[in-house]
């Protein structure tokens, strides 16, 4: 919480990074709260490391800002960016924006770094509600919006943000269609909604992004706490296939959850409706927007309507699929849990009203409030579109969401056997979606295991080649030393010995005579005398 405030209140990028890492740490610790569970500590670690990858980008972006602007202060950077020294599309600014956005994809769970958020649901539910839905994960959106002065100078980066945002929105929504764990559905829904916020930022509608951030905080926190209440009521059950017909049994939870579900689906006059339609409208009408982005947004809205009501109906309507022993214990949560639900429900209902669009006769206070921050002449261009067009788009998106709602109603309330039939008919596709497109497996195969292999390989290389080289030098020295020893022993010393041996050999004849026996010497003298005498006799 402290870190989060540091993050938001920081007036420069470095302090922001400090808060940014601080919330990352808290998130790591809170996800791993049930640390004796392997999956929980795995999820915590995954969250931290995936975030680190994003942080690396953020950090490089921060450095590039320092080098470029000589300052990290938001005001100074913003001022310099708006001073006109930088042309639109400036390469350095684009690089900064893309690097910062890499950081945002990590923290705010966007493609390709969204994989940690669903796993983060291993943490306690209030944690999921607070940091993984309402506050921490939106830090990336906040950062991009905070850097809006830079982003408007980098259309390429904006296009990237919008594309990633839209892609994440629809991608995560589609995964959410098939999940059975109640918290996982909400997690993918969060990823998807964050995608909306980035879509808004990507079309330079930063105000709309922040607006959605705020409304989303209300209804998503409500949904998470509500799901926590459901899980609590069912003694820890998270699988929606083992729920059902809880409407009458836990009434407060059910009613507040209904409000939140309506809000996130964009039912008219609830908070999600205003912010989401603001985004859709901007993605259509903004100079950076396009029809494709709008279509993706609307399709996602339809999916949202479907999976949220699927969740709602599976949990609260239909026949009870709760196992017997659990059923006895079902009870409404204590007021410490229901009061927050009611407060949040009020927010989910009304938080959108401060951004009542002009098309519906309102004055959009929210946008005015943020105007000094997001001062941007480009957006004024959007004004000339007619309000009737805006109204039409609004209707169509509501209609699409309603279709989603209707399908969910048909499948999960009217004829509960339909989903199975549908699933059976698209079995392979369903498997792929159920398994989250196998992205985790793909990442494991592509990066995690390859990094481990590389580590193993390098460790072997280190032991074999680098250390082997050192030991080789040692070995060579020893071999050389041994050779020297042998050389010394056999050749150098050998020569000496040979010399001695030869001398010894040569001295042998002389030596055998030196017996030390006086008699022998006497004999020799006699023999010698005889030899000489013989000699004389022969010659003379």
């Amino acid at each position: 919480m402290f870190s989060m405030l540091v993050l938001v209140l920081a007036d420069n990028y470095l302090m922001m990074f400090v808060g940014w890492e601080g919330v990352g740490l808290c998130s790591y610790l809170l996800i791993g709260f049930y640390f004796h569970r392997q999956s929980a500590s795995d999820a915590g670690k995954k969250a931290f490391i995936v975030n680190r990858i994003g942080d690396a980008g953020f950090l490089l972006g921060v450095m590039l800002i320092t080098v470029t602007f000589g300052s990290l202060n938001f005001l100074e950077v913003t001022e310099a960016a708006r001073s006109g020294h930088f042309a639109v599309g400036d390469g350095v600014i684009t690089a900064i924006c893309i690097l910062l956005f890499v950081g945002a994809t990590g923290k705010s769970a966007q493609i390709p770094l969204y994989v940690w958020l669903p796993d983060a649901m291993e943490g306690p539910t209030p944690v999921s509600a607070l940091i993984h839905a309402a506050t921490m994960v939106t830090a990336g959106v906040y950062m991009v919006a905070r850097s809006n002065a830079l982003y408007v100078l980098a259309p390429t980066a904006l296009a990237l943000v919008a594309a990633i945002g839209a892609a994440t929105a629809i991608w995560a929504a589609s995964i959410g269609l098939a999940q059975n764990d109640i918290k996982r559905v909400l997690a993918y829904s969060t990823v998807s909604q964050l995608g909306y916020m980035f879509l808004a930022c990507g079309v330079a509608a930063f105000g709309a992004g922040i607006f959605h951030l705020m409304t989303h905080a209300f209804f998503k926190a409500l949904l998470f706490l509500g799901s926590g209440s459901v899980i609590h009521a069912l003694s820890g059950e998270q699988d929606m296939r083992k729920m059902g017909a809880l409407w009458g049994k836990i009434p407060t939870t059910a009613r507040t959850m209904l409000i939140a579900t309506l809000a996130i689906s964009g039912a008219p006059l609830l908070s999600g409706f205003f912010s989401k339609d603001e985004i859709l409208w901007q993605s259509f009408a903004s100079p950076y927007g396009s029809k494709i982005l709008w279509i993706i947004g609307v399709v996602t809205a339809g999916m949202t309507g479907f999976y949220m009501f699927r969740l709602f109906f599976l949990t609260f309507a239909g026949k009870s699929r709760v196992p017997h022993e659990v059923e006895h214990h079902i009870h409404e949560s204590p007021s410490s849990m229901t009061v927050p639900l009611i407060i949040l429900a009020a927010g989910a209902l009304g938080a959108g009203w401060i951004g009542w669009p002009k098309a519906l006769g309102g004055s959009n206070h929210f946008e005015h409030f943020l105007e000094p921050v997001f001062e941007n002449p480009a957006l004024r261009a959007a004004e000339h579109h007619t309000w009737s067009l805006e109204f039409g788009l609004m209707l169509s998106s509501v209609a699409v969401a309603a279709v989603g709602f209707y399908i969910a109603y048909r499948w999960y309330v009217k004829s509960p056997e339909t989903p199975e039939r549908v699933v059976a008919s698209v079995e392979p596709l369903y498997r792929v979606v159920l398994n989250k497109y196998y992205v985790d497996e793909l990442y494991d195969a592509l990066f995690v295991n390859r990094a481990k292999d590389l580590g193993d390989g390098l460790a072997a290389f280190d032991l074999g080649i680098v250390d082997g080289g050192v030991n080789g030098v040692g070995f060579t020295t020893r071999v050389t030393a041994e050779a020297s020893r042998l050389w010394d022993l056999w050749v150098i010393d050998g020569l000496v010995n040979v010399l001695a041996f030869v001398t010894k050999l040569l001295s042998y004849p002389a030596r055998i005579l030196q017996t030390g026996l006086v008699q022998a010497y006497a004999l020799l003298i006699v023999l010698g005398v005889l030899v000489f005498m013989g000699y004389y006799f022969l010659h003379f």
């Binding site: 470095l14 990074f17 400090v18 890492e21 601080g22 740490l25 790591y28 791993g32 640390f35 004796h36 392997q38 500590s41 795995d42 915590g44 670690k45 931290f48 490391i49 680190r52 990858i53 942080d55 690396a56 950090l59 490089l60 450095m63 590039l64 320092t66 080098v67 470029t68 602007f69 000589g70 300052s71 100074e76 950077v77 310099a80 001073s83 006109g84 020294h85 930088f86 042309a87 400036d90 390469g91 350095v92 990094a451 481990k452 590389l454 580590g455 193993d456 390098l458 460790a459 280190d462 680098v466 250390d467 080289g469 050192v470 040692g474």
Partner: protein, 539 residues
């Protein structure tokens, strides 16, 4: 008091030696007396270094080096007893005295045999290390540099693990091989100075004033580089490190990682850069050094990730961290250099503490195999908490020390070119991966090994060995300003010598940049260094 002030360095240097002499008179059988005296002497060594903190005044306008003591030693060859410190050596001396005391304290129960010899070796080692950081005379420096090897050799070889003899000999010979080359470099400068001026001197400051020909600088640089790089250790000279660390007793590992490795980086900062500015700034050498640093960062992290032995894992992480330090040095700008020195301190704190932590578990379980340990946080909560803080400081989490150092180094590298910083951040990501994985495998999960279930949490003495390091880590992380302040002037002096164009170019300001022009990556490319002769070099 005046005497104390004037001779503070000698006092710091000789306190451990005095302790050693007294220790020799204590009979070896009186184990408690030996143990108490060893700790008292080390603590006294720390106490006498404390006044430096108050007396060291970086505002003083005098010369770069302070507390100078100087007297002739061997006049016939020009060797002097010449001590003096600047901000860089000041921080490293404080690190040495703190870690020296803590590591000796950590051996209270771990060392049971040949206790007297053990403490004697540590006191000698301490004096050697302090001498290296104080000497301003090459001869004296080399003496301390070699003196330090001997006790370390015995510490590993006598009190070490199963392969202690192999590790001890490898450590000694490898380091000696480098030192000899360094000696060759020193002698080259010594005789060349005599040829040029007719004076024999080992005085580093005098030698710095001499204008060395570029060609000579180049060769001497490589001679120094091998000596220092082995000590750091830089890739590919690092393989003595894991062996020495794994086999050394805990306190030996702490000192080895905490202080000994810093001598290599200190050597680069103190000698290579200011003595041989043209060589140090030449593009070829910068390229080689930076490439080796970046390889060390990534390679060390990857190899570390796959280790099965905790100590080996931390040893390889040192390779990675020291890669950051050398990268910072050869960025050749104030950010890089001051970040590097600070990171050296940080590494001493974090890795020193990590080795203490591994030592604590080794003392209890007599194994360092990661797979033997799991779920320790269930039985040792205090241990797990301290480990968590130290681990986070090691992976560079903001508000802890590692972040400040790494960030400043990266900033320095980025100012030269963004490629370096981009490669180096890979190391930061991997750093988080291997440390978190280690922590998860040892601390989290269920504690099902019956041998682990009976483990006791830390006692007071063990907590006392760790807490000062944790406090220091928070101090640097929260308020690093005094540290940077101390480093500012010496670093500026070095940059002024080695990369004078850095100060010639105005720092980039947004207002000064015309619209649309690409921003120069750095105020000063190192390649421009060698073309500008250093102004300080007077012929």
């Amino acid at each position: 008091m005046q005497f104390f002030h004037n001779h503070i360095l000698s006092i710091i240097l000789f306190t451990p030696l005095l302790g050693l002499v007294v220790l020799l008179f204590i009979p070896g059988e009186k184990k408690d007396a030996v143990r108490w005296w060893g700790n008292i002497a080390m603590f006294a060594g720390f106490l006498v270094s404390l006044p430096l903190v108050f007396w060291f005044n970086s505002e003083a306008p005098d010369q770069q080096f302070k507390f100078i003591e100087r007297t002739d030693w061997i006049p016939s060859i020009g060797a002097q007893y010449f001590l003096g410190i600047d901000g860089i050596s000041f921080l490293l001396i404080m690190l040495t005295t703190v870690l020296g005391f803590l590591s000796v304290l950590s051996s209270w129960t771990a060392i049971q045999e040949r206790m007297k010899e053990y403490y004697a070796m540590f006191l000698l080692l301490q004096a050697g290390m302090l001498g290296v950081f104080m000497s301003l005379d090459f001869f004296l420096f080399y003496v301390f540099w070699e003196v330090m090897l001997v006790p370390m050799y015995f510490i590993i070889g006598v009190w070490g693990g199963p392969r202690k003899l192999y590790a001890a000999i490898k450590f000694f010979l490898y380091t000696l091989a480098g030192s000899v080359l360094m000696l060759l470099g020193i002698l080259t400068l010594y005789f060349r100075y005599h040829t040029d001026t007719g004076i024999y001197t080992f005085n580093v400051l005098t030698l710095m004033q001499h204008g060395w020909p570029a060609n000579l600088q180049f060769w001497v640089f490589w001679a120094f580089m091998v000596g220092f790089a082995i000590k750091v250790p830089m890739f590919p000279f690092h393989t003595w490190l894991p062996d020495a660390h794994v086999e050394a007793p805990t306190a030996g590992s702490v000192i080895l990682a905490g202080v000994l490795l810093k001598m290599g980086t200190y050597g680069f900062v103190r000698f290579s850069l200011p003595l041989l500015p043209q060589a140090s700034a030449s593009p070829a050498i910068v390229k080689v050094m930076v490439t080796l640093s970046i390889i060390a960062i990534i390679y060390g992290a990857l190899v570390s990730m796959m280790q099965r032995d905790m100590k080996k894992l931390i040893a390889y992480s040192s390779v990675s961290h020291l890669g950051f330090c050398t990268l910072g040095i050869f960025a050749l700008n104030p950010h890089g250099l001051s970040g590097s020195v600070l990171q050296q301190i940080n590494h001493g704190i974090s890795t020193g503490a990590l080795f203490l932590i591994v030592g604590l578990i080794y003392e209890r379980r007599h194994t360092r195999e990661i797979k033997e340990l799991s779920g320790l946080s269930n039985v040792m909560p205090v241990y797990a908490t301290l480990f968590m803080i130290v681990m986070l400081s090691s992976i560079g989490l903001p508000l802890l020390n590692g972040f400040i150092g790494e960030f400043t180094i990266l900033q320095g590298a980025f100012e030269v070119t963004w490629h370096w910083a981009a490669w180096a951040v890979v190391g930061i990501v991997l750093g988080a991966a291997y440390m978190l994985w280690l922590y998860q495998r040892t601390m989290f999960g269920t504690c099902d090994n019956p041998k682990n279930q009976i483990l006791k949490d830390l006692n007071l003495r063990e907590i006392v060995t760790l807490v000062p390091l944790v406090i220091w880590a928070f101090w640097i992380g929260l308020y690093p300003k005094p540290f940077f302040h101390v480093l500012e002037k010496p670093v500026a002096a070095i940059v002024q010598r080695v990369n004078p164009s850095f100060y010639a170019a105005a720092p980039a300001v947004s207002a000064a940049i015309p619209a649309g022009t690409p921003i120069p990556a750095a105020p000063a490319e190192p390649s421009s260094g060698p073309t500008n002769p250093a102004p300080g070099v007077a012929h």
